[in-house]
Symmetry: C2
């Protein structure tokens, strides 16, 4: 974790995302974020004058953009891109992390949704935007593989929903079983969407 790179502001956003994904929004303190980012406490009110809400929203936005960009990298890593291959990569990112580093963290967007959907409108909107960004990336990738546009949007939603749920179950069970299972079971359905046209 190259925390020392980049400016203190970005470090704090990044640290916030990390801590939120581990402990949830409510249990993550501002002081804790500053300490984790090795940033001065006073910088919090300087860079984030709207307080915790602003910091959390930026962390969620960052996570959404990160997930979107990952899709492109997954595609590049695949010898020949297929929907099931993409989904397997998306899932593998998580199972790899869990097996290598333990089940400490989940998805920060999910955490923000659970903790803030009803209490903090702006954060709910940030989470919605994050899912939308991510969904767009995945759908675009599917279209490039030959899936019709409307169907691609639907399958992207299915992939993201299933992945999010499997992350949740895996973390509760401290076992990657759910992740490997959904990857295996969903694969054929996804590939069928491209072959059925050709």
């Amino acid at each position: 974790m190259a925390v020392s790179e980049r400016g203190p502001r970005e470090r704090m956003v990044f640290s916030a995302a990390q801590l939120i994904r581990r402990d949830g929004v409510a249990s993550t303190g501002m002081r804790e974020v500053a300490a984790h980012a090795e940033a001065p406490r006073g910088s919090l009110q300087h860079y984030f004058p709207d307080g915790k809400e602003q910091l959390v929203n930026e962390a969620v936005g960052w996570a959404g953009r990160y997930a979107g960009k990952r899709v492109a990298r997954f595609l590049a890593a695949l010898p020949e891109p297929t929907p099931s291959g993409l989904f397997a990569e998306m899932v593998r990112q998580w199972s790899d992390e869990y097996e290598a580093a333990g089940f400490a963290g989940g998805c920060p967007v999910a955490a923000a949704t659970v903790d803030c959907a009803e209490s903090t409108a702006s954060t709910r909107e940030a989470a919605s935007a994050a899912f939308s960004t991510w969904n767009g990336s995945v759908a675009r990738a599917l279209v490039d593989m030959g899936v019709p546009k409307g169907r691609a949007e639907a399958l992207a939603t299915l992939m993201i929903s299933t992945l999010e749920g499997a992350i949740l179950v895996a973390r509760a069970e401290r076992d990657v079983r759910a992740l490997t299972t959904v990857s295996r079971e969903l694969g054929p359905l996804l590939d069928a969407a491209v072959t059925e046209v050709g």
Copy 2:
């Protein structure tokens, strides 16, 4: 919400589940639970001597058993039980609630996992047990429909993961789109598991 029925202890567990699913574990106060259950504050330490942790764990356990029992009721409501029909009912429970009462609440087990998986071991175990109970119910139903046992377990995990994720996305977007989408897209795959054998 027939809160006044049953004893105060059960009411508090029930109220805890309701508040947790709306605001998350960390943002739900003990005093708030007592007030919501119209129970005396002093009863908290009487019925739950191990404090919040115990109350949360019981709420999670209650939710798991509730979800398990719902499966049987869904089956009874179906003219002829099919995997896709069961999944559609499970999803519909949520989309109906969201359309009728708004997007205030998510799944309490998901909330407990997000907020406590890393911080509170016993709650993580309770969540794991809840998922296991639920998974068992769904898998058993699939077996009764003619799905081979091993496959039934896997499909149950897929159904639950997908549903949990779709709940999350729907709540963030304040739109049942994700729910209806996954129900439609996953249906054929689920039914294929029973017909492919016969």
